[in-house]
């Protein structure tokens, strides 16, 4: 399906929404992997609900991308692992509970901030509905991180140091400030990447105030603007494992697809 010239988003906006959608797709995957491995039933139920919300949001975003001319089969079932534009920290499955909580907390909040910055009419109402879902995701993460910061501050801080650079790359480079952000210039978003980076970090500084957890500093060379891949919103050519892509695409159960 092709969009007419008036409703066509700029290419940079399609890439931006693709990265948000793929990040949500991988969030759904990671929540699913941890659905029965959390420390208690309440965490499992909350994580399962979060994962279900994410997959529902992915369907909405894929629908918009298809209207913009992105091939539906490519989106859902016909992609190489290196063609997923998810936030880099979600390339891997976290090995421990505190690490997992930091991983999904950072990725989910960053994806929400990028989504909430969109002011294009195609997203009117939809983002508000997604925000109702996201409130519970972000509250769950923050409430959990509050207690983990007291009980296991070293583990939380180590995970922050591990994942912060990849999440900052997903948000975007510091060079995309006011008057220099192509999405703002195109009228697609109303908040420059540099401002989102600051707000993102400030949230965690406030959350961990009074604990032994230190939030990594913002540095202008993370990501390096010269090496940053605008399409996949990361530096480097890392990607999810083939086995994960196969799960996302339902490869092993394709024969049961209802046509």
């Amino acid at each position: 399906m092709s969009a007419d010239a008036e409703s066509r988003w700029p290419a940079v906006a399609r890439d931006y929404v693709q990265a948000i959608a793929d990040t949500k797709l991988l969030l759904g995957q990671r929540y699913g992997e941890w659905m029965l491995k959390g420390p208690n039933l309440e965490d499992d139920i909350s994580g399962a609900s979060n994962g279900q919300d994410e997959i529902g949001q992915v369907r909405q975003l894929f629908r918009l991308l298809e209207k913009q001319g992105v091939d539906r089969d490519w989106l859902e079932t016909d992609r190489e692992p290196a063609e997923y534009a998810n936030a880099q920290p979600l390339d891997e499955e976290a090995e421990a509970w505190p690490t997992f909580m930091v991983q999904v907390a950072l990725a989910d909040r960053a994806a929400w901030l990028l989504l909430d910055a969109i002011q294009h009419e195609d997203f009117t109402g939809m983002v508000q509905k997604m925000g109702e879902d996201e409130y519970f995701h972000l509250e769950h993460h923050d409430a959990r991180l509050e207690t983990l910061a007291v009980d296991q501050p070293e583990a939380v801080e180590a995970a922050l140091e591990r994942y912060f650079p990849g999440i900052l790359a997903f948000i975007g480079p510091a060079t995309h400030g006011a008057g220099e952000d192509p999405l703002v210039e195109a009228g697609f978003t109303d908040r420059a990447v540099a401002e989102i980076r600051g707000a993102f970090r400030e949230h965690y500084v406030d959350l961990f105030a009074g604990t032994d957890v230190t939030v990594p500093a913002l540095t202008d060379d993370v990501p390096d603007p010269d090496e940053w891949d605008e399409k996949r919103r990361r530096s480097g050519d890392g990607h999810i494992d083939r086995s994960v892509a196969d799960q996302l695409q339902g490869v092993t159960n394709r024969e049961y697809v209802i046509e």
């Binding site: 039933l41 309440e42 139920i45 909350s46 609900s49 519970f136 509250e139 409430a143 509050e146 207690t147």
Partner: protein, 67 residues
């Protein structure tokens, strides 16, 4: 900590005991309660720490020396 979850369908209704959640903080308890017991469109949902429930014992008031 154990929290008890109370809900009601409509304003003015009595609250019903929906169940319990285990949580490390009040903030977590609210989220867990919502995620676990949000199967209806509740007018109100609240949580109470089990330690804050006041027991109503069966001792006759007169035995406490009240006139």
């Amino acid at each position: 900590m154990k929290y008890h979850v109370f809900t009601r369908n409509r304003s003015g209704d009595d609250m019903i005991h929906a169940g319990t959640v285990q949580a490390d903080s009040d903030r977590l308890a609210r989220i867990y309660a919502h995620r676990t017991y949000d199967e209806e469109d509740w007018d109100f949902m609240g949580v109470v720490r089990e330690e804050d429930l006041l027991e109503v014992d069966e001792e006759p008031i007169s035995s406490r020396g009240v006139a």
